[in-house]
Amino acid sequence: MENVLNFAWQNRMEKLSNKDIFSEILEGNEDILIYLHERYFQQCRRWLRRKGFPDQHTPQLFAEVLVKLFREIQRKKIPGEVEFEPYFFNLLDEHVSEEKRSRKEQANRVSPGFTDAEKNIISSCTMILDEHVRKLLFARYVEYLSFEEIAARFNYEDPVVAQKEVEHAMLQLENISKIRLEISIN
């Protein structure tokens, strides 16, 4: 059944235009990433190889850029008139340059005030939450959706319910994280 669904999805994806790709991203459809990696991965692999990155680093680097692009389009609400391919390769080029620079300078790219370890703890705490709670938090803090949009996506009666649900999810994460970080709740 899953194979049939994948096949149907891929068939639909073959017909996607530049505008369709942007609209799918803006709608938060994560399956578009699978389509994009099948379309651009080999090209990127060759490009990265020319830039001096070995093949075993390519999937991680490629995935990071693809997710960065996905988030940026969602956050900035970039319209479908923008050409996707040059945009993607410019972002890849920037990411590669940044990666090289950070390797040279050994700089910590995490925002000031937090360490990598703390951030990873919060990340792992997020991953152990229920899928529904996790998606709710992602919708609010990753996709920057308003409570009205969250209510529409998750079929809540009104935005107030959505706000209460998000607060509840956040409180749940906060409690788990404090325990893991050994910070007193009170």
Binding site: L33, P59, A63, V67, R71, G113, S123, L173
Partner: protein, 317 residues
Amino acid sequence: MNISPEIRLWIDRYLNGQLSGSELQEFMERLEKDESFRREVSFQNLLVEGIRAAADDELVDRIVADIGYRKPRVPLALKLIITFVILTAGGIILWNYTGSDQASTFRDKLAFTFLKRQRQPDISDKKSTVKSKTEHLNTESNSKSSVAPAISSVEGEPDPGLVTEESAATDTLTNTPEKSSPDVVVKKDQLLISANIPVIEKGAPEKQDKSDASSQNLSSSATEKLNPEAGLAEEQKTQPDNIETEFWVSPVNYQGYKMVKNKLVLYGIEEPDAVRLFRLNNVLYMRYGNDVYKLTPVEEYASYHKIKETEIPLVLR
């Protein structure tokens, strides 16, 4: 610190960049004054950063899993080396098994033939000398006068096995132009065997020998007395008992012979063992099977002169 839902929403709006104007100013003032509030904002910020990192990691993991990259067991460099070695080995094998005559000449110059040379060092050396000599002869002239040195170059070959393998240009009949096309294989005259064949004297009485010896002594003493310092050539000594004979085969089935001094070159004789040489009255005869041929000394090639049965001397029958 327990915070109210209103404060939580306020911080949430700040972290999402939705505060502005007096609301933002009020938030910043409280952030500066209130230490616990500042810690709470910082912690909320950490939570949001962690949520974003978790979301990104989840997607990255999904994409990486979907790409399904595996590090190849055999590295690319090793693959290239193996391919190069296989291609080189294949090329050498093809070169050795499908080369033409011209190719083999060129191949001898390569270092790959050292194994072959180690196996047969003497033969290869002799081959090269014979080749160089025959090539030299070919370039000198195409006339028959060049035949004699060609034969002399082969004379010194004691090994019949080697000689039978090697071909040499000896006659204009089989001389080929030097600039032949590379795909044409030129057949040359082939030396079958070289042997000293004894000459059987027929009808030579001892008395005659004695008279010949006395007459020779007289003539030599006379020439010495007449002009001792003239250095006149002495009369040839008695005919030798053996004649060095070479049996050759021509690709055009030429049949003939030539005889210079004590050397006889025969063409078209398929069974060298069946040849017998006789001398009768200082004339050389050759018996081959039931046929008898008269051989007169000639420097150029001549066809066999077969003697009719009725004219064959009785002693040779």
